[in-house]
Each structure stands twice: as C-alpha cells, then as structure tokens.
C-alpha cells in the first residue's frame, strides 16, 4: 500500500524536496488507505478533558492513542467520561496536519460492561439532560443560614447520624426535621418523590429553608430508586433548595444530578448547608465593631463640629464686640480731641478782640482836647483885652492931643507935674520937681526953683479961672 507511493516519489527525490504539507498529505492518504474507516477499539480513558469537544487518551498496557470526540457525538454520551473507564470506541484514524499528530476521531462510544441498568441510566440521564434538568441556571441557591433543614433519609441510616453530628458540631441552633423515607427497594422512589413534593409545598409553613436527600453507600441496585424519573421530577419541581449526597463518592445518581447541589457524603451535605457558628459569631462581632466604630466616628465628627462651631461662635462674638469697642474708642477720641474746639477758640479770639476794641473806642471817646479849648478860650479873651487896651491908649493919646490949645495960643500954658497932674497951686509943686508946661507950639520943661503965694486979689482971680494966672 505504501509501495506505489514510494514508486511515484523517488524520481523527483533528488531535485525537488517535499514540502511539509505535502508530506502531511501523503501521511493522511496512507492512513486513510491503510486503516478501515470504522474500527472498534477497546481501551481505558485517560487525561479526559471536556473542551466542548472531548479530548482524551485511550490506552492499554502497551500503547496510547490520542482521541477526539466532537461535541455533536459527545452530547449523546451520558454520563460524561471519567478517567479510568474502560470503553469501546468506534471511529476512524486521521492525521491532524496542523498538530502533526495521529488522532482517533470517535463517532460513538460505549462503556465496557454496560448492562440494562446502565443503559437505562444513560438513556434517562440523556433525556433529562436534554430537558434541561441538569442546567446550572435553574438550580436554586442554598441559604446561608437555614433555620431548619429537612433531612430526607431513613431514620435508621448512618447518614442521618452523620448529619446530626455535623449539625451539633457546627451550629446547634439550626433545627433538623427528619423525614423518614425508605431509601431502597421497590416503591421507595414514589415515597421519596411524594415527600419532596409535600416538603416543597409546606416548607415555608414549617420554617424549613433547605433539605438534604441522603443515604449511605450500596449496590447499584440499592441506589436505583434515586435514578428513577419520579424522584428526578420531584426534585426538579421542588421549591426548596435541596442538597443530595447518595452512595459513595464515585457513585452518581440522577437525583444528585438534578439536585441544587451534590455532595460526596452526608457530612459534606450537612456542612454545606449548616454554617459554622464560630465563624458566624466572628462575623457578627466584626459587624458589631464596624457598627459601633461607624457610629462613634459620626459622633466624633459631630462633637468636633460642635466644638469648632462653639469656638468660631465665641470668637465671632468677641471679634464683633471688639470691633464695636474700637469704633467707640475712635469716636470717643475724636470727640475728646474736639474738646478745645468746643470752647471755641474763635469765639475767645472774637471776644478778646471785642474787648480790646471796646476799650480803645472808649479811650478815644474820652480823648477830648479840653486843654486846646481852654487855650482857645484864654486866647480869645486875650485878644479882646488887647483890642481894648489899644483903644484905651489911643483914646488917651487923642485926649492928650486935644488938651485946650487956644488958651495956650493966647499965652497961657498948662503946667503939669511929673505925674501929668495939672498944676494949679503952689502947693501942687515942690522945689526941684520937674514940670512940663505946654505952650501953644510945644512943651517947655522946667524945674521948680521956688513958689510963693500971690496977693489976695490974685488968688481970687485964680478962683475965677486959670487964665488969670498967666
């Protein structure tokens, strides 16, 4: 089968080398021609990986073959493969050029030793799977702290004791409600299903928050009631979260697949549902601490705010009065500075000036030239006197001048003594006295030599008139 290819190839071997792709094509062709299209191979599953498509190795004591089962084929297999399973696979061999590997592509797969129960299991599980019973999306979350947990099991089962022990250890406060159901044998499944239905209906009334469906290990036949459709349907319908732990860890039942959570053992199921009290107390304590610290922070802030406000308030009030005080003092100083002005220096000046002027006015008022007036008065009189004296003098002169002249022309003279007194008698003169005698044309001055009386007749004549003397 390989020879003809080799016959074709050598002539060109010397000049043009094959590409890798070409070689891969050659290998693939050789494989397709050399191995039948559908072979059945038995072996043990190893290194199983579910990557939508399934990848695993099929091995026996002497060899390992790489296997791929595409999703379309893998979907028909239920339950999924597990390492170590003996399987008989049907398929074809291919060379996977990109990976440089030979792969066995599986069309179908059957488990070695699958009896009627296995087939029934596989068929029901395939049906339920396609009905969506196993989907995670529909599974109910488990309560974090269930008040009561229903335990569906046989009251005499060791599994029940495990659950009770776990509850007592973790949180005694969580109540357990045991629902005694048969866990094996003909007719157990409907009872279990009915119990689940009733629980689902009444759990709220009963205060039950979750349920555990459990039993210990046993034969495939013993566990069979948990693979029946009624139970699966009841679990699927149930409104109460349900944890299933049936048989040993390696056993898988339909009930477990439909349940909201699957656990390996009753103890694990109990642990899964019953919180650890110590942990919860710690959590509660920490919440309490957070609570009080959060509040005391609020109170502290409030206190600080109050203090700050109190401080600001008193400071503000103080500043306000200080400002008022400053303003008052300013005004007070201004008012005080006004003080000299208040007595009005201008008024004082005016008053003093008035006082001086008044004095001066009065002084000049009495400054009358009385002396001048007196002098003028005296002068006026002196003038009047002078005029009069002059007039008297001139009158005298005139009088003297008109002394009786014609008499003198007739030879008489008038003799006057030194005093100017007319000499009439000898007694009027004394010897030695100087006389002045007026004659017609002038005055003769003479000295009295002597005087003697005349005769009686002469004296009589004298009496009759002076001329008689001359």
């Amino acid at each position: 089968m390989a020879a003809p290819r080799r016959a074709v190839a050598p002539p060109q071997a010397g000049d043009a080398p094959w590409t890798v792709t070409h070689l891969a094509g050659e290998i693939d062709g050789a494989l397709r021609k050399g191995i039948a299209t559908a072979v059945r191979v038995v072996g043990e599953v190893s290194g199983f990986r579910d990557r939508t498509h399934w990848y695993f190795d099929l091995k026996d004591e002497g060899a390992v073959v790489n296997c791929v089962m595409f999703a379309s084929a893998a979907r028909r297999v239920n339950p999924p493969l597990r390492d170590g399973e003996q399987v008989i696979v049907k398929g074809r061999v291919e060379f996977y050029a990109k990976g440089g590997k030979v792969s066995f592509i599986l069309d179908s797969l059957e488990r070695v030793g699958e009896g009627p129960l296995d087939r029934a299991f596989r068929e029901l599980s395939e049906a339920l799977k396609s009905a969506g019973y196993f989907e995670h999306g529909r599974k109910k979350p488990l309560p974090r702290f269930p008040r009561k947990i229903a335990v569906l099991t046989s009251r005499s089962a060791a599994a029940l004791q495990d659950v009770i022990n776990t509850r007592d250890r973790r949180c005694p406060g969580v109540g357990l409600v045991v629902i005694d159901v048969p866990v094996q044998g003909q007719g157990a499944a409907p009872i279990i299903a009915r119990a689940i239905d009733l629980l689902s209906k009444d759990h709220a009334r009963l205060g039950i928050d979750a349920a555990i469906l459990t039993r210990g290990g046993g034969s495939k036949e013993d566990l069979w009631c948990f693979n029946e459709r009624v139970v699966a349907d009841a679990i699927f319908r149930s409104e109460i979260p349900l944890v299933a732990a049936i048989g040993h860890e390696t056993d898988t039942t339909i009930a477990e697949l439909v349940a909201d959570e699957r656990c390996a053992t009753p103890t694990q199921a109990a642990m899964r549902l019953i919180p650890d009290k110590v942990e919860l107390v710690r959590q509660t304590d920490s919440l309490l601490r957070r609570l009080s610290s959060s509040f005391s922070r609020v109170a502290q802030i409030a206190e600080r705010n109050t203090s700050v406000h109190a401080h600001k308030l008193s400071a503000g009030a103080l500043a306000r009065t200080r400002a008022a005080q400053r303003k008052t003092t300013d005004l007070e100083l201004r008012l005080e500075r006004l003080r000299p002005q208040a007595v009005h220096a201008r008024m004082i000046a005016r008053l003093e000036a008035a006082s001086h002027r008044l004095q001066r006015a009065m002084e000049s008022g009495i400054d009358v030239d009385l002396a001048g007036t007196g002098a003028r008065l005296a002068e006026s009189l002196r003038g009047a006197m002078q005029i009069r004296a002059a007039r008297a003098e001139s009158a005298e002169k005139h009088l003297t001048a008109v002394a009786p002249v014609r008499v003198l022309e007739r030879g008489f003279s008038i003799t006057l003594d030194a005093k100017g007194t007319l000499v009439r008698k000898i007694a009027d003169v004394r010897a030695g006295e100087r006389l002045r005698s007026r004659v017609s044309d002038g005055v003769i001055e003479s000295t009295v030599g002597g005087a003697s009386p005349v005769r009686k007749s002469a004296r009589r004549r004298d009496d009759a008139g002076q001329p008689g003397l001359f």
């Binding site: 702290f145 406060g173 045991v178 509660t284 919440l287």
Partner: protein, 82 residues
C-alpha cells in the same frame, strides 16, 4: 425612640439571620455614608445593635432540635411548637 417596638422593630425580629446581618451591613453603610443626621444615625445604630442581638440570640440557641415528620409530613412530634 428606643423602647416602643415599632413596625420595623417587629419586622426586624422576623428577619432571617442572613437578612438581619445584611440589614446590619446596610445600617453600617448608611451610617458610614454620613448622609443621615446624628439622630437618625443613632436610631440606625440602635437598630443595628438590635439586629446583632437578634443574630446572637439565634446563634446562642443551643437547643439541638430534631423533629420527626411522617412521610405525609404530618408532624409526628408534639414538640414542634413553632
């Protein structure tokens, strides 16, 4: 404010442990947010304390109750006084 049981107090008493804890958590958050006043914070604090007490009570409940229910779920034990 403190002693008179009000609507929320009653309601709080019926909260599940989980819900109670969640309420405490939200109480803490509302206090920490600082958007409620001091008085309201105090009330909230009080409520938080009450809730925590309730939780503690639940936790402290040491009664290891195990009830039996018959298959048709008629209570078998007369001790389920709930």
């Amino acid at each position: 404010m403190a002693k008179r049981p009000d609507h929320s107090e009653k309601a709080d008493a019926e909260l599940s442990f989980e819900d109670a804890l969640a309420q405490v958590e939200s109480v803490i958050e509302s206090i920490e947010a600082g958007e409620i006043g001091l008085e309201k914070s105090l009330t909230e604090y009080e409520r938080g304390v009450r809730l925590i007490k309730r939780c503690r009570e639940v936790l402290a409940n040491a009664e290891q109750r195990i009830e039996m229910l018959t298959k048709d779920l008629k209570p078998a034990g007369r001790n389920e006084s709930e």
